[in-house]
C-alpha cells in the first residue's frame, strides 16, 4: 500500500511537469527525480505500476488489397502492437498497421479481455494513429504517461511491451542518437530517437521511457539500432488532434545537392564564410513550389545557417538534417523564412508550409482506406501505378521491370495536370476476346481510343467512346506489343464470362460500393 502511494504520487508529479511542457516546453528530464525510491523493496506485483497503467496492448486486424489481382484482398492479418495511453481517453500508436485495418481491440494490464476501440485519426506520414475506447470502464485504472520534451540525447532507457502471455517486459536500452528520420512509408523527416538494445523483434509501437516519462515510440529497425518517433512529435499530434486541428506534417518537397566542394561554392558566388545546399528539383505540390527554383542555394532557414552537407545546429540536439526544419514543431500554413542565393543575389523568401498528400504524387507511396483503382476491359486489367503495386514484386528494387523502376525514380512525385497518374496494363485474363495478348503485363498505357491516358477516369471515358468497332490501346513505345486491338462487341460480350471465370466481382473498382 505504501509503495503504491509512492509510485502514484511520483507519477503525478512527473505528469504535472510534463503536461506543462506541452504548453511551455523545455523541462529537462530528471528534474523531477528527487523522490528516492528503493526498487528492491517493492513487491513485484506493483513494479512499474505507473508504466503498466500507461501502456496497453492493441490488436489490429486488417486486410491489404492484392495489387496483382486488384479486385481481391490478401489473407487477413492480426497484429499485436503497443498503445500509449494519452490524455483525453485516447491511445496513441506509431505503426503502419492502420489504414487498411478492419478491427481494433485493446487489452490492458496483461488481461485477456478485449475491448473494442475506434480509430479516430491516422497520419501515415508518422505513421501515427489515435484510438478511442467508448467503454468508460476501460479507463478506470489507466493513467496517461507524461511525454518528455526535450528528449535525452544519451543515457539509459526502458522499452515497454505487454506480451500475449500477460507479462510486462521492460527491456533495457540506451539512446544512440536523436536525428531527423523517416518511418514506415512516410516521406516526412521528423524528430527520431535511435535506441540500441539487445532485445529483438521490436518495432511494434513499443513505448520507450526514461524512468516514467515517455521519450518515444518504436517503429522499426534501422541498421543496428531501433528507431522511434520522439515524444515531442507525439505530443504535438495528440495536442492538435485533441483540439480537432491536426493538419498533417508539413514537408519541403524538393531534391538537393550538397555544396561541400569549395570550387562549386565559389562558382555559385557564395561568400567564403557562406554554406548551404543547392536545390536540384522542386516538387510542384510541395512547400517550396512557386517560391524556390531549381538552382537556388538555400543559405538559411529561419535565420539558422545550413551547412554544405545539409545540416544545421539544433539548439538541443546538435547537428541535424535540414529537412527537419520544415516539420519540426511546425504546422501546415506556418511561414518559414528562407534566405536563398539566386544568380548571385540574396533573397529572403517566406514559404508557406504545405502538407503533401500521398494521393497528390503521380505514383502514390501508399493507399489506405480503399483498394486499387482498376478496371477490366475484355480481360485486359488496367490500374494505377502505385508504390504498393511495385512492392508487390517482393524484393522490388531488384525484381520489378526496369521501365517501372525508372518511372518510379523519375516521376513518383512529379505530378502533371494532364497526366496525374501513370496507368498500367498490369495483366491479361486470357479469353477469346484478347487472343494473342495473354502474356502482356506491367506496361505503361499511353493512349486508348486516341485519347491520352493520365488517370483511370481518362481510361473510363476513353473506353466509353470507341472510335469504331474496336478499342485500340497504345502502350509506351518499346513496351511490347505496343498496340492492342480488341473488338468492342466481343469485349462487352466477354465481361460476364471473365467475371465468372476469374472470380472478378467487379470489373471496375468505381462500379458498386464495396469500398
Amino acid at each position: 500500500m505504501r509503495s503504491r502511494t509512492t509510485a502514484g504520487s511520483r507519477t503525478a508529479a512527473l505528469l504535472a511537469a510534463a503536461l506543462a511542457t506541452l504548453v511551455a516546453p523545455v523541462v529537462a528530464l530528471g528534474q523531477a527525480e528527487d523522490v528516492p525510491v528503493s526498487v528492491a523493496a517493492l513487491p513485484s506485483t506493483t513494479l512499474n505500476q505507473g508504466l503498466r497503467s500507461g501502456v496497453v496492448r492493441v490488436l489490429v486486424s486488417g486486410q491489404e488489397w492484392n495489387w496483382k489481382t486488384p479486385w481481391a484482398k490478401q489473407p487477413p492479418w492480426t497484429r499485436p502492437i503497443m498503445g500509449l495511453v494519452v490524455s483525453g481517453h485516447r491511445i496513441l500508436c506509431a505503426s503502419p498497421a492502420f489504414g487498411n485495418h478492419l478491427l481494433v481491440e485493446v487489452q490492458k494490464h496483461g488481461e485477456d479481455a478485449r475491448t473494442a476501440g475506434r480509430v479516430v485519426l491516422t497520419d501515415p506520414e508518422g505513421p501515427l494513429a489515435l484510438i478511442e475506447v467508448d467503454d468508460p470502464a476501460f479507463w478506470e485504472d489507466l493513467e496517461p504517461l507524461p511525454l518528455a520534451d526535450p528528449v535525452p540525447r544519451e543515457g539509459d532507457v526502458s522499452i515497454l511491451r505487454w506480451r500475449a502471455s500477460g507479462i510486462f517486459d521492460s527491456y533495457p536500452g540506451s539512446v544512440r542518437q536523436v536525428r531527423s528520420g523517416r518511418h514506415g512509408l512516410s516521406r516526412t523527416n521528423i524528430l527520431t530517437l535511435d535506441v540500441a538494445t539487445g532485445a529483438d523483434a521490436l518495432g511494434s509501437s513499443e513505448v520507450i521511457v526514461v524512468d516514467e516519462v515517455v521519450v518515444g515510440v518504436l517503429t522499426a529497425r534501422s541498421g543496428d539500432t531501433w528507431s522511434g518517433i520522439a515524444s515531442p512529435v507525439l505530443a504535438r499530434f495528440v495536442e492538435d488532434a485533441a483540439a480537432g486541428e491536426w493538419r498533417g506534417f508539413p514537408r519541403g518537397g524538393f531534391a538537393w545537392q550538397n555544396l561541400t566542394n569549395p570550387a562549386l561554392r565559389e562558382s555559385l558566388r557564395l561568400n567564403e564564410d557562406e554554406r548551404g545546399v543547392r536545390i536540384t528539383r522542386v516538387l510542384p505540390h510541395g512547400s517550396l513550389a512557386g517560391a524556390v527554383q531549381a538552382g537556388d542555394v538555400i543559405l538559411e532557414v529561419e535565420g539558422i545557417p545550413i551547412d554544405a552537407a545539409g545540416h544545421y545546429e539544433h539548439p538541443i540536439y546538435g547537428r541535424m538534417l535540414f529537412a527537419l526544419l520544415f516539420s519540426d514543431g511546425r504546422r501546415p500554413g506556418d511561414l518559414l523564412d528562407l534566405l536563398v542565393l539566386r544568380d548571385g543575389e540574396r533573397l529572403e523568401i517566406p514559404v508557406p508550409l504545405r502538407r503533401i498528400r500521398a494521393d497528390a504524387d503521380r505514383i502514390p507511396p501508399y493507399i489506405y482506406g480503399h483498394g486499387p483503382n482498376y478496371m477490366v476491359v475484355g480481360g485486359l486489367v488496367f490500374q494505377e501505378f502505385t508504390i504498393p503495386y511495385l512492392t508487390a514484386f517482393g524484393d522490388w528494387q531488384r525484381r520489378a521491370p526496369p521501365r517501372l523502376l525508372i518511372a518510379q525514380e523519375r516521376e513518383s512525385n512529379m505530378p502533371s495536370e494532364e497526366r496525374p497518374r501513370i496507368i498500367l496494363l498490369s495483366s491479361v485474363l486470357p479469353d477469346a476476346a484478347n487472343l494473342g495478348y495473354e502474356g502482356v503485363r506491367n506496361v505503361i498505357v499511353e493512349r486508348v481510343n486516341g485519347r491520352t491516358i493520365g488517370s483511370m477516369d481518362d481510361l473510363r471515358e476513353a473506353f466509353a467512346r470507341p472510335e469504331g468497332r474496336f478499342h485500340v490501346v497504345e502502350l509506351l513505345p518499346g513496351s511490347p506489343p505496343e498496340r492492342i486491338v480488341v473488338d468492342v462487341a466481343e469485349a462487352a460480350a466477354a465481361a460476364e464470362r471473365i467475371r465468372a471465370a476469374y472470380g472478378v466481382d467487379r470489373l471496375d473498382s468505381e462500379a458498386g460500393a464495396l469500398r
Partner: protein
C-alpha cells in the same frame, strides 16, 4: 513477338558461352563404326587453339587486365585458313594452333572476326602447317532428328575427341558472345563442353556447323552455329572486309488477335505481323510504315506469330535478314490501305546498335581531366554494375541504353557521356560523386561525345569549369587553373600514361 533483338535480350541472361562453363564430366567419344574411316580424316583437320588474351578494364579504361589462357578448337577450310569461334580468339594477344598429329604449335593471326555471329577465320603463316591435311567442306542445314558428330578438344585430354548426337531443334536464338544478336542455332544433345568451342559439327562428311554455346547445368542441350550463318560470314568476307548482318529496322508484333486482323482490314486466310515502328537506318526505313502488316520478306510468307519456315523449322522472320548481305535487295510484301504491295529495299545495318553489344578487340574510349574519368555509355560500362545492371545501375543510364531509342526516336543516335569515376586529389576530392552519372553539359557546351568533353574543357573561360549532370545529381565545379596544374600529377599518381583514347 517483337524483333529478334528484343527476343534475345530476354533469352541471353540464361545462357553462357561454352568457354565460361565449368568443367563438367566428359563423355567418351562414340563415333559410330560406320563413320570411323571418314571420322579419322575429319579429325586430322580439327586443330587445337590455345589463346592468350587480355581484356581492357572498363572501370579503369587505360589499363589491361592480367593475361588469361583459354582453349578452343578450330578446323581447316582452306590453305592455312582455320574457322573457329570469335569468343575463342576475342582480345587475343597470342594464338597458337596445333594439329592433332603434331606436337609443335604454330602462331596464327586473325584474318577476320565477326563478334555478331561468333565466328572468326585464322591464318597460319607457316606454309607447311596444313601439309597433308584435307580442308573440310561445308554442308547444309541438317534436318531435325538426324545424327551429327562434333569434333574438338574439350578439357580433359590432349587429343581430338568426337561425340555423336541428334539434332534436337533448329531455332533463332541469342548469341551470348555478342549479347544482342540473334541468328539461327541448332540444338543438339551431342556433348559440347568447354574447349569444344570452334570445333566442327559434321554430317555425311561435311561441316554443318560450329560448336559454340550451351546452358550450364543442361548436359544434353548444346548449340552450334549452322551453315547459313557461317556462309554469310564467309561470303561477306570475300571482298576482304567484314561488314556484318543487315538489320530489318522493324519492330513488329504478332497478329494472333482476330480483332486486330479485322481492324487492319485483312482478308481471311492471310497472315503476317503488324509493324509498330520503323527504326531509322534499318533496311525498312523509308519503305515500310508503322501500321503496315508485313506479309512476307523475300517472298517467304510470315505467319501470324512472326515465324517463317526455314528447312523443317519455324523461326522468326528476322532470320531472313541473315540470308542477305548488306547492300543486297530485300523485298517486303505488306498489307497497306486494303491492298497487298511489294516494296523493294536495300539491306542495311544500324551502326548505333554496336553500343548494345558486348565489346571485344576494342580498347575503351575515355578522357581523364583533372582526375575526372569520362566514358561513353555502352554495354561494357553498364556491366560494371553487375549482372543485374538493368535494376541496379543508375536509372537514367538504363533508360538511355534500353528505352530511349523507342521513346525518343529523334534522339536515337545521341551518345551519352558518363562521369565514371573521380580519381581523388585535393582539387576534386570535395566534389559530390555518388557513382557513375550522365553528363549534360560542361562549360555551357552540351556533351554528346568525348570530343565535346575535350573541347568543353579547352574552351572554358572564367575561374571555374562547370559540369552539369543528368537528373537530380546537380552540378559541380573545378577551379580551372588548379585543375590544369594538377592534371599531370594526377595522371602520374594513378599510373595513367595517356589522358585520353578518343
Amino acid at each position: 513477338m517483337t524483333s529478334a533483338r528484343s527476343l534475345f535480350l530476354a533469352a541471353a541472361a540464361a545462357a553462357v558461352t561454352i568457354a565460361a562453363l565449368s568443367t563438367p564430366p566428359l563423355r567418351a567419344a562414340d563415333a559410330s563404326e560406320a563413320n570411323e574411316g571418314e571420322g579419322n580424316a575429319i579429325s586430322a583437320s580439327v586443330v587445337h587453339v590455345q589463346v592468350y588474351r587480355t581484356r581492357f578494364d572498363w572501370s579503369m579504361p587505360w589499363r589491361q587486365k592480367a593475361v588469361q589462357a583459354t582453349l578452343g578448337s578450330g578446323f581447316l577450310i582452306g590453305e592455312g585458313r582455320i574457322v573457329t569461334n570469335a569468343h575463342v580468339v576475342a582480345d587475343a594477344r597470342q594464338i597458337l594452333v596445333r594439329r592433332p598429329d603434331q606436337a609443335n604449335p604454330r602462331i596464327a593471326t586473325v584474318e577476320a572476326v565477326a563478334h555478331d555471329c561468333d565466328i572468326a577465320v585464322l591464318r597460319v603463316a607457316d606454309e607447311g602447317f596444313a601439309e597433308g591435311l584435307r580442308p573440310l567442306a561445308l554442308g547444309e542445314l541438317p534436318r531435325t532428328g538426324s545424327q551429327v558428330l562434333t569434333y574438338g578438344f574439350p578439357l580433359g585430354g590432349q587429343d581430338v575427341s568426337s561425340t555423336a548426337g541428334i539434332v534436337s531443334r533448329i531455332e533463332t536464338r541469342g548469341y551470348v558472345h555478342s549479347g544482342m544478336d540473334a541468328h539461327l542455332v541448332v540444338q543438339t544433345d551431342a556433348a559440347i563442353n568447354p574447349g569444344n568451342s570452334g570445333g566442327p559439327v559434321v554430317q555425311d562428311g561435311r561441316v554443318v556447323g560450329v560448336a559454340f554455346q550451351g546452358f550450364p547445368g543442361f548436359d544434353n542441350m548444346s548449340f552450334f552455329i549452322p551453315i547459313p550463318v557461317v556462309r554469310h560470314f564467309l561470303e561477306d568476307l570475300e571482298d576482304g572486309t567484314y561488314d556484318g548482318f543487315p538489320d530489318s529496322g522493324l519492330e513488329t508484333s504478332a497478329l494472333l488477335s482476330p480483332a486486330y486482323r479485322r481492324e487492319r482490314g485483312l482478308p481471311g486466310g492471310t497472315s503476317g505481323v503488324v509493324v509498330n515502328r520503323v527504326i531509322s537506318d534499318g533496311t525498312a526505313e523509308g519503305v515500310v510504315r508503322s501500321g503496315d502488316v508485313l506479309l512476307a520478306v523475300n517472298g517467304h510468307p510470315i505467319a501470324a506469330d512472326g515465324t517463317v519456315a526455314i528447312g523443317d523449322a519455324r523461326v522468326t522472320y528476322q532470320t531472313l535478314f541473315d540470308y542477305r548481305q548488306i547492300g543486297e535487295k530485300v523485298d517486303f510484301t505488306v498489307w497497306r490501305d486494303g491492298a497487298e504491295i511489294v516494296l523493294g529495299a536495300t539491306a542495311s545495318r544500324i551502326p548505333r546498335y554496336d553500343r548494345l553489344r558486348n565489346l571485344y578487340d576494342v580498347a575503351p574510349r575515355y578522357v581523364v581531366h583533372a582526375g575526372l574519368v569520362f566514358m561513353p555509355l555502352d554495354s561494357e560500362l553498364l556491366k560494371m554494375f553487375g549482372r543485374n545492371w538493368a535494376q541496379s545501375a543508375n536509372r537514367d543510364l538504363v533508360w538511355h541504353h534500353l528505352f530511349r531509342e523507342a521513346e525518343r526516336p529523334e534522339e536515337a543516335d545521341r551518345e551519352v557521356i558518363v562521369l565514371m569515376r573521380v580519381l581523388r586529389h585535393p582539387i576534386n576530392s570535395q566534389m559530390g560523386f555518388n557513382g557513375p552519372v550522365g553528363v549534360e553539359a560542361i562549360n555551357g557546351l552540351p556533351i554528346r561525345s568525348l570530343e565535346d568533353v575535350v573541347e568543353a574543357f579547352d574552351r572554358g573561360e572564367g575561374r571555374f569549369d562547370e559540369i552539369v549532370f543528368e537528373g537530380d545529381a546537380g552540378i559541380e565545379a573545378l577551379d580551372r587553373e588548379e585543375a590544369k596544374a594538377a592534371h599531370k600529377e594526377i595522371l602520374r599518381q594513378y599510373a595513367i600514361s595517356h589522358d585520353r583514347r578518343l
